[in-house]
């Protein structure tokens, strides 16, 4: 609805006046006007529900059942799978490695989400103030980074940080005279995640920057100008005046980033192939892969997946409750 009101540029004053009084984007009103369409809504949902039930729902049920079974590779080939109650869950919950992986994933996710959001927002604010040429230049750069497939990006970044022939080591040694001859960037877990974070953030900033930028363009000019006139410092201006307009965008973008960064797989998996120590660099995605596919313990892998989903649901609870309260669901 915000898009629509801001789109009524033909009569800006009328609309923006209302906005300045109530900077909070108006709650969705369409909910009240929803019709009880009999069978129609169900029929509209049929295609999506059919595909999701078949490709995700059914395997998900199997996965859930599997998580209570002793399910190894032999069971894939048809051996009977005995039910073992909560043994798989117990095994994971007492396993120190799992908690380390969990902690690591959260820390990594937090760093990436915070860094991505800050960088993305700053770049978006910057794009508002740039001239046409530089804004275009920046957009092209961000687009290129965004368009780069994650697997390809990881291979290229791995090549850039290569121990023997990487450009980073080469420049640090030859241009700055530092002792980075054959420095391995991946062997130390912190350094590994530094490289991984660069790859993830580099790939995610464009999405955030473009989304926030698009949101900023819909904040009425008068509001932006007002924010520049009064004496508050720029952070306070942003928080008090601009942020309320972008709140729902931020909420959605953050929840997506959290889900994506907690589930991160490709970048970590590919980096582990290049170097580093797996059991010190596993995140939830690679850990599940290693347990279920690598070592053939599909039951335990299923249990980890179930636990992961429960944890993520708990995290997004705030968002869901907020949305229900606003009747936005």
């Amino acid at each position: 609805m915000t898009s629509l009101t801001s789109a009524h540029e033909a009569a800006p004053s009328a609309v923006t006046d209302e906005r300045i009084i109530a900077p909070e984007p108006p709650p969705a009103r369409s909910g009240r006007r929803k019709r009880a369409g009999g069978l129609t809504p169900y029929m509209l949902l049929v295609p999506s529900v059919a595909v999701l039930a078949a490709i995700i729902g059914w395997p998900l049920i199997q996965l859930f059942i599997m998580s209570f079974q002793d399910f190894g590779r032999a069971q894939v080939f048809g051996a009977p799978a005995p039910f073992i109650g909560l043994d798989n869950y117990a095994k994971i919950l007492i396993d120190e490695a799992f908690w380390q992986v969990l902690l690591r994933s959260f820390a990594f996710c937090a760093v990436c989400v915070v860094a991505t959001m800050i960088l993305g927002t700053l770049i978006a604010l910057m794009m508002m103030r740039l001239g046409r040429f530089f804004r275009l230049l920046l957009s092209v750069g961000l687009l290129l980074a965004w368009a780069m497939p994650a697997l390809t990006a990881t291979i290229v970044w791995g090549w850039i940080f290569d121990t023997d022939y990487g450009v980073v080591n080469n420049v640090l040694v030859n241009a700055f005279g530092l002792d980075f001859v054959q420095h391995s960037w991946l062997i130390n877990p912190l350094s590994f995640f530094f490289v991984a974070a660069i790859i993830v953030i580099w790939g995610a900033v464009p999405f955030v920057a473009f989304t926030v930028y698009a949101g900023l363009t819909q904040v009425p000019d008068e509001v932006l100008e007002a924010s520049q006139l009064d004496g508050a410092n720029s952070f306070a201006r942003f928080r008090l005046i601009i942020y309320p307009y972008l709140k729902s965008i931020f909420l959605v973008v953050i929840i997506l980033q959290v889900i994506w960064d907690l589930r991160v797989f490709t970048q970590i998996f590919a980096l582990q192939g290049i170097g580093g120590i797996k059991d010190q660099t596993n995140t939830l995605g690679t850990y599940i892969y290693q347990v279920s596919i690598g070592t053939g313990q599909y039951g335990i892998g299923g249990a980890i997946a179930v636990i992961t989903v429960i944890i993520m649901m708990a995290i997004s609870l705030y968002y869901v409750r907020q949305s229900i309260k606003d009747e936005e669901l």
Binding site: M1, S30, R35, A36, L130, L137, P149, E225, L284
Partner: protein, 300 residues
């Protein structure tokens, strides 16, 4: 009309009153420098990939860095494209394109219907459906490979375009519905009703009035689906095991062997080729994309 003015919004905000400009000449120069720095940081890996792909294989491992392909060669591209010993590029490109385009098209149609249902109608389990859509996105795909494989096997969809497309549609559908419904919500039913008063049928009102307003939203969500389907590796590896059904990410992996010699220059050439269609797609749709993203997000 609404869609066009939405896109005009950024331009409007640039035309800021002049009196602020003088005060900010210095800071704007600084900003421009910063913009160039960010541009370079964004582009460097892309540039390094392309740069490496044009160098002879024995030079990329030298102690001297070549920031420009002095000994320009197309050999790596020849290797990647025409070497008879390799799995050919073109069939893999074809598979990737077909699967990706089908995925995007089907996911958009399905998601659009579903988002109409959840925004325009009141019905039982509406909230449940939306919650389910959110939760589905949290499931780690790595855990479900064996189960997914079996489902496709039961339907004889292994090693088919249809099978892989199905899986990808299911993968991108939740995000697509989730984002698209925000966009559909943004188009008030009033507009359609107004159109009907003007003598259009309900369907006519929908196609003439509502649908054009949705175009940016469809584009924005389509881009997401495109990237997902284009880059997916693990499922494609397992589900489409026949070489003639290979997609590009799997094809790219054939250059990386476990113990043998890795042809880095060829991998970079292959990576460049793989990135080109995505970049082209991006450049085509980017104008419509950003406005679409935000409109979806606002209501998300």
């Amino acid at each position: 009309m609404t869609a066009t003015s939405t896109r005009r919004a950024p331009a409007a905000s640039v035309a800021r009153p002049r009196r602020y400009k003088a005060r900010r000449r210095w800071s704007s120069a600084l900003l421009s420098v910063l913009a160039v720095v960010i541009f370079l940081a964004s582009v460097f890996p892309v540039y390094w990939m392309v740069n490496t792909s044009f160098q002879p294989n024995n030079e990329i491992r030298g102690s001297v860095l070549h920031f420009w392909p002095d000994n320009f060669t197309l050999r790596n591209y020849e290797t990647v494209l025409f070497d008879p010993g390799r799995t050919p590029f073109l069939p893999a490109l074809g598979n990737s394109l077909i699967v990706t385009i089908l995925t995007v098209a089907i996911a958009l149609v399905f998601a659009f219907l579903a988002s109409l249902a959840v925004t325009r109608f009141r019905f039982r389990s509406r909230k449940g459906f939306i919650l389910a859509i959110l939760i589905v996105q949290m499931i780690p795909a790595e855990a479900m490979i064996v189960s997914t494989y079996r489902v496709l096997d039961d339907w004889s969809l292994l090693n088919t375009i249809a099978g892989l497309t199905f899986v990808y549609v299911a993968t991108v559908l939740p995000f697509t519905i989730w984002t698209l419904r925000g966009f559909v919500n943004g188009v008030p039913a009033d507009l359609e009703e107004a159109g009907m008063i003007d003598g259009l049928s309900r369907t006519g009102a929908f196609w003439r009035i509502t649908f054009p307003l949705l175009a940016p939203g469809l584009v924005a969500t389509g881009v997401f689906g495109f990237i997902q389907a284009w880059n997916e590796f693990l499922l494609a590896l397992v589900v489409n095991s026949r070489p003639e059904m290979m997609t590009l990410p799997v094809w790219l992996r054939t250059f990386q062997t476990l113990t043998g010699t890795t042809n880095w220059a060829a991998i970079m050439a292959g990576s460049t080729l793989m990135a080109i269609p995505v970049i082209i797609f991006f450049l085509i749709v980017q104008g419509r994309m950003t406005s679409g993203l935000v409109a979806g997000a606002v209501k998300g």
